[in-house]
């Protein structure tokens, strides 16, 4: 299958006040784990407490991708950090609800509302 390579791109806010963001591109499945872990390491290297995962450009997440996200949330919790997500389609928001992932992260409709909501936690 000619799938687009999954990418996770860390991005610091220009003013270094808001939470760091990782933009996800492509399909989230078990192959996404290394890239996501690298992006997490890089984004959190400045000691931020919250990481925002932006799913705007993700149109497919399967069960193995859910497992990768669960793994990342587990790690963040061990480190006393939080994961927030934005840009989920309605379908994947439903899946986050069914799996109860939603109980362990903040879910925002888009990046703007996420950064507005998460800024206090990150400063």
């Amino acid at each position: 299958m000619q799938t687009r390579q999954f990418e996770a791109t860390p991005r610091q806010q220009a003013d270094h006040r808001g939470a760091p963001v990782v933009d996800l591109h492509g399909n989230v499945n078990r192959d996404s784990e290394p890239a996501l872990t690298r992006a997490y390491d890089e984004a959190m290297s400045g000691g931020a407490e919250t990481l925002l995962l932006n799913f705007d450009d993700v149109h497919y997440i399967n069960s193995t991708g859910i497992a990768v996200i669960v793994g990342l949330v587990a790690r963040a919790r061990r480190e006393g950090r939080a994961i927030a997500v934005c840009g989920l389609t309605e379908h994947y928001r439903t899946i986050f609800e069914i799996t109860r992932l939603i109980d362990f992260m903040r879910v925002y409709p888009d990046e703007e509302s996420a950064l507005a909501g998460s800024a206090p936690a990150a400063t």
Binding site: M1, S63, T64, V70
Partner: protein
């Protein structure tokens, strides 16, 4: 006629002005308002008046303007003397036009201030109203287009063969997949006198309902004359002559018509400008060439008639443009070489079509919107067939029995990632059912997960083992059956996933597959015959109880 401004609603905004209303309100409040309908005025987009009004700082006295403007002349002719432009975000969206005061005095500074305030407040309100109207019009247009797409799909499906004849020693496999904006593809298999079989593949230029209607006529002409004339060239000539008077200009039909004698393998064919059929034989590929103009261009055309013999184990493939001319995200065309390559190897007709579709799907990539209808018909002469029995036409079950209509039946190889192909093909197969988008999304996830299980657990990632996927439209329910070769093997995923345990490290983060499937469909049924293991995903359809009455 003058061109409209880009906002279709502009004209309406201008027409709404009631110059005399405003005049009377401002200057003669005690007089009964005289409401005179002034003619609506269209302002051409290149009229200098637009630029002038857009940047005007307030009400403009028309008589003092010196502009070479047709609209200005119209305003004057309509008796307008003062204009307050309605400007919203720098864009002129309408005019408040006033005639002369009834008292025949000049407008005072107070009048103008009032008018300017009114214009400033009215402009955003008018803009909002225009946007709402525009959006409503777009929504109606969208609904109309969707409705037309459904009609075109319905027509198209009416004329697909309900059943493919079952010929001993031959295998006929067909695949038809309409694009969202239905093209004019069609195919047909016609039983002819003397045990002969007619096979048609055609493509109407253009899309939507007009193409579907031309397709329907062509289909009927061919059906009517094929049993009488037999000769493929004669049948195409006749269809062309019948089609010419009625076909809309700019439209035509490409069509390949072949007549098979199943006992000898003799195949006569004629071609009205359609793609050349390929035959895969022991020593490679050959094309079946016959020349002829597309149907519907000109009456009195003659068509070349050729013949060949399909030998045991040869496969002939008839096809429309959908695959060969399909593009990937990089704009590259699929093309004949890829198509020919996919035909080689030891496969039968059904497998050939599945392989082609898989190859095409990998080529075009995920999320690809199919550009054109895809039609593939494969005619395979069995390798072992030597007997010259008179053929019996045994029909596959028609679509309306209890087993339900088969919307798709295909296989994917057990390779990681092929669940995406399964997901895509099931989505395409249920496209005409008009399911709610959320239901489709859920079914997609369930199909992907179940196929992944079949590939990994049932077939142990052994690429040579197929996963078979069948989509059935049964009474009141849609069923997707996903079958692997894993026999009785249980999927090792019995423990319910618990996110608290997972986050605490007491359960593996994985193990969501079955859990997801169960939550994505109305029902999941599993069965096994010791060799094959089938998961059936069920989605209840609307009107499930009285499905019989609805049919």
């Amino acid at each position: 006629m003058t061109a409209r401004l880009s906002k279709q609603t502009f004209r309406r905004a201008i027409r709404r002005r009631k110059a005399d209303d405003i005049t009377s309100t401002i200057s003669e409040p005690e007089a009964a308002p005289r409401v005179a309908e002034t003619p609506s005025i269209d302002i051409a987009p290149n009229d200098p008046l637009i630029a002038y009004f857009s940047s005007a700082s307030g009400a403009v006295e028309i008589d003092r303007l010196e502009l070479d403007s047709p609209a200005l002349r119209e305003l004057r002719a309509a008796g307008v003397s003062l204009v307050a432009p309605l400007v919203s975000q720098g864009e002129l969206i309408g005019l408040l036009n006033l005639g002369p005061r009834l008292s025949e005095q000049e407008y005072s500074a107070d009048d103008r201030r009032l008018l300017n305030n009114l214009a400033a407040q009215a402009a955003p309100a008018v803009r909002v109203a225009q946007l709402v109207q525009q959006q409503e019009a777009e929504a109606r247009e969208h609904e109309r287009i969707e409705q037309e797409l459904r009609v075109a799909q319905l027509i198209q499906q009416q004329f697909l063969p309900k059943a493919i004849p079952n010929l001993p020693g031959w295998q006929i496999a067909a695949h038809y997949q309409p694009a969202r904006e239905v093209g004019g593809d069609f195919y047909d298999v016609i039983e002819l006198p003397g045990g002969l079989l007619g096979i048609v593949v055609g493509d109407v230029t253009d899309k939507g309902v007009p193409a579907a209607l031309v397709m329907a006529s062509t289909h009927s002409f061919l059906r009517a004359d094929a049993p009488r004339l037999i000769s493929p060239a004669a049948v195409l000539e006749r269809a062309n002559d019948l089609l010419c008077p009625s076909i809309p200009e700019q439209m035509f039909v490409t069509c390949l018509y072949a007549v098979l004698d199943p006992t000898s393998g003799r195949l006569q064919f004629a071609n009205a400008g359609h793609n050349l059929p390929y035959v895969r034989s022991a020593d490679g590929m050959r094309e079946l060439r016959a020349t002829g103009m597309p149907l519907g261009l000109m009456p009195g055309m003659r068509y070349e008639e050729k013949e060949t013999v399909l030998e045991p184990d040869e496969i002939m493939l008839l096809y429309s443009d959908g695959v060969v001319e399909g593009h990937n995200a990089e704009g590259e065309m699929f093309g004949f070489p890829r198509m020919a390559a996919a035909m080689l190897g030891d496969v039968n007709g059904r497998q050939l079509i599945d392989r082609l579709l898989t190859t095409f799907s990998r080529f075009s990539g995920p999320g690809h919107e199919q550009e054109d209808d895809i039609t593939l018909v494969a005619l395979h002469r069995s390798a072992t067939e030597r007997t010259a029995l008179a053929p019996r036409f045994e029909h596959e079950q028609p679509a309306s029995n209890g087993a339900g209509a088969v919307l798709a039946d295909f296989t994917v190889a057990s390779e990681e990632g092929n669940e995406m192909i399964a997901m895509q093909r099931v989505t395409e197969a249920i496209g005409a059912l008009d399911l709610a988008p959320a239901v489709v999304e859920k079914l997609r996830t369930a199909v992907s997960e179940a196929t992944m299980n079949a590939i990994e657990h049932g077939n142990q990632n052994r690429a040579e083992l197929p996963v078979q996927i069948r989509v059935l439209n049964r009474e009141g329910e849609l069923a997707v059956q996903i079958t692997d070769q894993g026999g009785d093997m249980e999927i090792p995923e019995t423990e319910d996933p618990d996110i608290d345990l997972k986050l605490a490290g007491l359960q593996t983060p994985r193990g969501w597959g079955l859990f997801l499937i169960e939550h994505m469909v109305d029902e999941m049924r599993r069965s096994s015959d010791g060799q094959q293991h089938t998961v059936e995903l069920i989605v209840y359809l609307k009107g499930r109880v009285d499905a019989d009455a609805a049919v």
